[in-house]
């Protein structure tokens, strides 16, 4: 079963310095029918004005992934981590017992375009941690590039998170096909970051998402504009 969450159905907020689309309930957008999917709690697509961002604020007991689509993000936190990063990088912060951080569009001239993802951890009170892993964009071309994987699953190329969840990115050219097996009992979420892609024949566009359950064979075919999408394999 594939249930599509259309771009235009998402929550939307435009505060001037930030324009956000919320796939699931977040901040001022509250919809009990869209509280998350499995352990996936938040997918926010944010466009942030040059030099603007989120001042110091706290998180607790959440796995927070940031994926840059355009521009760069400047991060600073209570663990002493100070970083600037751009596309083709996964940033993963395990808030655990508590983290205070700020994040700003690193450019004073160009807007930034970011995906912010929250995954509920399987444990509470974990030690806070910060991971940032960059990769060659060729690694996601025509195949899945693993961005995050459960702690202890021994995927050195991916950020280790406190949840039985695997997050990957893939880029497809128009007409290019990528197949994926979903193990029995597992669920998937697909979020289209750019372009368009079909999944088992259902066409998805930029900003669309899809919840997948009780399916075992997934076929992704790049649409007319090609596509980049995130793939979540969830318990």
């Amino acid at each position: 079963m594939i249930v599509i969450r259309r771009n235009a159905e998402r929550g939307h907020a435009d505060l001037g310095w930030i324009e956000s689309y919320y796939t699931f309930t977040f901040a001022g957008y509250k919809d009990p029918a869209h509280m998350g999917f499995r352990a996936l709690r938040v997918i926010n697509e944010d466009r942030i004005a040059p030099g603007r961002g989120f001042g110091a604020h706290a998180h607790r007991d959440m796995e927070i992934l940031t994926y840059v689509l355009e521009g760069g993000l400047a991060h600073r936190d209570s663990m002493g981590e100070v970083h600037t990063f751009g596309a083709d990088t996964i940033q993963a912060m395990s808030a655990g017992t508590g983290v205070i951080h700020s994040e700003f569009n690193a450019s004073e001239r160009e807007p930034g375009h970011f995906l912010q993802i929250w995954i509920e951890p399987g444990v509470t009170d974990a030690d806070p941690s910060y991971q940032q892993i960059s990769f060659d964009p060729l690694e996601k071309r025509g195949r899945f590039r693993l961005l995050a994987a459960p702690r202890g699953s021994h995927h050195a190329e991916a950020a280790a998170i406190h949840q039985d969840a695997f997050v990957s990115a893939a880029v497809l050219a128009p007409g290019e096909e990528l197949r994926q097996k979903l193990a029995p009992g597992r669920h998937a979420w697909i979020q289209v970051a750019r372009g368009n892609v079909s999944i088992n024949g259902d066409a998805l566009g930029q900003g669309d998402g899809a919840a997948v359950s009780d399916e075992q064979d997934l076929s992704f075919i790049g649409g007319p504009d090609g596509s980049e999408f995130l793939y979540f394999d969830l318990a």
């Binding site: 030099g51 706290a58 209570s78 508590g98 205070i100």
Partner: protein, 166 residues
Amino acid sequence: MQDINTLVTFSSRTGATERLALAAALGAVQARALIRLRWLRENVDDPTIDGLPEWRENRVRMAREYIAPREIDFLWADVLVLAMPARDGDSSPEWKTYLDGLKGLHGKVATAFTTGSDATLVSLCPVLAGLNLILVPPDPTATALLHGRKVTEAARALKQPARDPL
């Protein structure tokens, strides 16, 4: 568990008091409080700022990372944490204005930190007591992190409905 809102207000020049404020705020987060961090910007002239290395750079950064304290912040708060640099105490004009503007604090919990001498805090305590705040005394043996936890837990204990002793 009772929801607790902890407001941490600080002023800082080279970042030392900011670190103290962050540690206290993190302790509050560890104790599962919601937190707000607010920066009290000093009204100073350029030569004064330039007289202290790092001050200008920190000032620009802090102006981005923190907003100034507002009335809705202390009305929201169950806990007020004040962190002030060595020379400030309640004698600096910014802190005096801030403290004078506080009201409606009956039953809220407060504590204070300083990167300076104990005299700064000693002068502050009667001011806080005069605001009808419940004062959790500064503890020189505890880190700011642990003290931030402690003051949040104290506020939570006070918010619990009274238990029947029998």
